[in-house]
């Protein structure tokens, strides 16, 4: 049975092994190689999206707000999206976790345990979600894997792992070139960086631009997949460290700020749990306003009514040089990220 898989540009790959287990012509299969918590979150997001599209209900807004521009999910589907899913795991516990998390969608999901090669062979597009250690131990180097990867898009969510290191892992060191990997009989790696809020589908995910650039349909597929777990932005690779600081480390900075607000509220007599909840709700509401297009400086001015109480609090923040502290904090994190990325020693040592 010949099957045209080439809805993803450049994927003119004949079926090498002959057995096409696809149900219907035109099914796209996404394989999650190493399906941990993040892989499950993404699959869950995709499956929920697909089922709400098919029953023509509006996609649930994650925040309950009515402003269309605040919707993180892209509602325009690429020309083709995955409809069959394979989750590759190694341990029983992992298989069980996938089964439980995706229980309402199991008809579209196959769980393969210790059958990575099969999972990749049957895939049209792969989400690489294993740990960096697994990569080192050769998950992509088992016999037959290179051939199975040929002509396929591999979306990597591995933390701190560049495309160069991924390619080196599979194909050995190569001179940098601008040629399309597909033309060289290789797979195409795309690096994406979700953040810790992926698990509740409120991630700020950064997609690193590829060289040469992805085709429009490849790019829209990657965007669509990652939009199932939050917002997406495309940045050049040299901005990855800054993005790591802002989006990767950011949640920790906001957690610190929230703790501090709750401390102040507790000092003023509010119970800790309530103070934390109200602070978090207010933090979320402010974020929603900025996402809806409100400029933060104007927002600040609007809240700061003449003779009101906000101005006094803001004065304390300015006197305490919060602007400079926070700006330096994010810059420090970014510099540290790039030094770590270069393999420098002693990045976290004494100043």
């Amino acid at each position: 049975m010949s099957r045209n898989k080439a809805q993803i540009d450049g994927l003119h790959v004949p079926l090498l092994n002959g057995h096409a287990n696809k149900e219907a012509e035109g099914d796209m299969t996404l394989t999650v190689l190493g399906c941990g918590t993040l892989g499950i979150a993404i699959l869950s997001g995709i499956l929920t999206s697909l089922s709400s599209v098919s029953s023509s209900e509006p996609s649930p807004s994650s925040s309950g707000t009515a402003t269309p521009s605040a919707q993180p999910e892209e509602d325009n589907l690429p020309s083709r999206v995955p409809s069959r899913f394979i989750a590759c795991v190694t341990r029983d516990a992992s298989a069980k976790r996938v089964k439980t998390a995706l229980s309402s969608h199991l008809s579209s999901v196959t769980i393969l345990q210790n059958e990575n090669l099969k999972g990749v062979q049957q895939a049209d597009v792969i989400l690489l979600g294993c740990k960096p250690k697994n990569l080192k131990d050769g998950i992509l180097r088992e016999p037959g894997m290179r051939e199975a990867l040929q002509g396929k898009l591999v979306i990597s969510i591995l933390a701190g792992t560049s495309i160069e290191s991924l390619e080196e892992n599979v194909y050995g060191p190569k001179a940098p070139t601008d040629k399309d990997p597909f033309a060289e009989g290789r797979c195409r790696f795309v690096r994406v960086m979700p953040n810790t809020a992926s698990l509740i589908r409120s991630s700020m995910t950064v997609i690193a631009d590829s060289a040469p650039p992805l085709s429009i349909s490849q790019s829209s597929l990657v965007t669509w997949i990652l939009s199932r777990i939050g917002r997406v932005v495309n940045l050049p690779p040299y901005m990855m460290d800054a993005a790591t600081a802002l989006c990767g480390s950011g949640p920790a900075f906001f957690a610190l700020m929230l703790e501090a607000m709750a401390d102040g509220a507790v000092a003023m007599g509010l119970p800790r749990a309530e103070a934390q909840t109200m602070a978090a709700q207010t933090m979320k509401g402010t974020a929603e306003m900025v996402l809806a297009g409100q400029h933060p400086a104007l927002l600040r001015e609007q809240v700061c009514t003449p003779g009101g109480c906000t101005a006094g609090g803001l004065q304390v923040l300015e006197d305490g040089k919060v602007r400079a502290s926070v700006a330096t904090g994010v810059r420090t994190a970014s510099v540290a990220a790039s030094r770590l990325g270069r393999g420098e020693q002693g990045v976290n040592g004494p100043r």
Binding site: L246, A252, G264, A275, G285, A287, M289, C309, V347
Partner: protein, 334 residues
Amino acid sequence: MAYVNGGAGNSPNTLTILGCGTLGSAILFGLLACSAEERSKKVEKGGQEADLPNGFEHEEIQKPSRILACVRTEQSAERLRRQLPASEHALPVKVIRGDNVRAVQAADTVLLGCQPQDLDSCLGAPGMERALRGKLLISILAGVTIPQIEQVLARGETRATAKTNGHVATSGDGRTTSIIRAMPNTASFVRASTTVITACSIATPANLRLVDWLFTCIGTVTHITAAQFDACTALCGSTPAFFALFIESLLDGAVALGLKRSEAQVMAAQTMKGAATLMLAGEQPDALKEKVATPGGSTIQGLLELERKALRGVVADALIRCTAAASTLGSKQA
């Protein structure tokens, strides 16, 4: 213009917004959006009662079936009329200028949204106190307490009739005005407000359910005591400005690193939203910090920088200063 008096039988249940300024308008539009959503859910389910969010029992809440929005200037009236949805299925809204007392006479529930300095002239107008008897009055006036409102009403009654003893608004016919104080915040405009509510002692469960429903249309609702109000004014009312400042600060750093400001703004705001959502889902702030700050990584470097600059102490102090300022707001009122 004659308004049908609200209340019994088939007459409309009327909500009058007395002083429909920016916040009043935000609540109005949130309410309209909420009603529209409920209506479309009902249509989808074939006319049966849809499941309401937050477990509200439909029958128990006397929701308004029409709204009277009172403004002072013709300009405001024009602007408001322009912004109202055109749909004939929407909740009917009538914009009224210069007819406050009659609009309150026609009301079942009154939302007080005038400027705090206009409290006396608004609630002290001839006939106003009488018009409010037996009704629910919801105040969103910043820095104005329930006792202060009761005093203004009592003064109004005194002017109109013989003296009363107590400071609770009462009359010969035994009816009182239920007063509930609510403080939404600026995120009302995107229906993500953190609203805190305190009620007078005579507020009924039905009053409270209505107020909860009303403010759930524009965000979350928390009931607090009068003693906690100033702290919550700071924590919910003012902190949006603090969070906005944090975002500005992050953007300064991001732009210095080479990110475009417009992109960095979305990234920072979405990251903040994600962090908040995680913590609302039960993740403790210190646990979140620990999860993100991996051993030997870059996050801990950034965090240490913030600790060196005593960010926590400064932010806590800002909140404390804000609360103190909030407590003096009320004393400026009559």
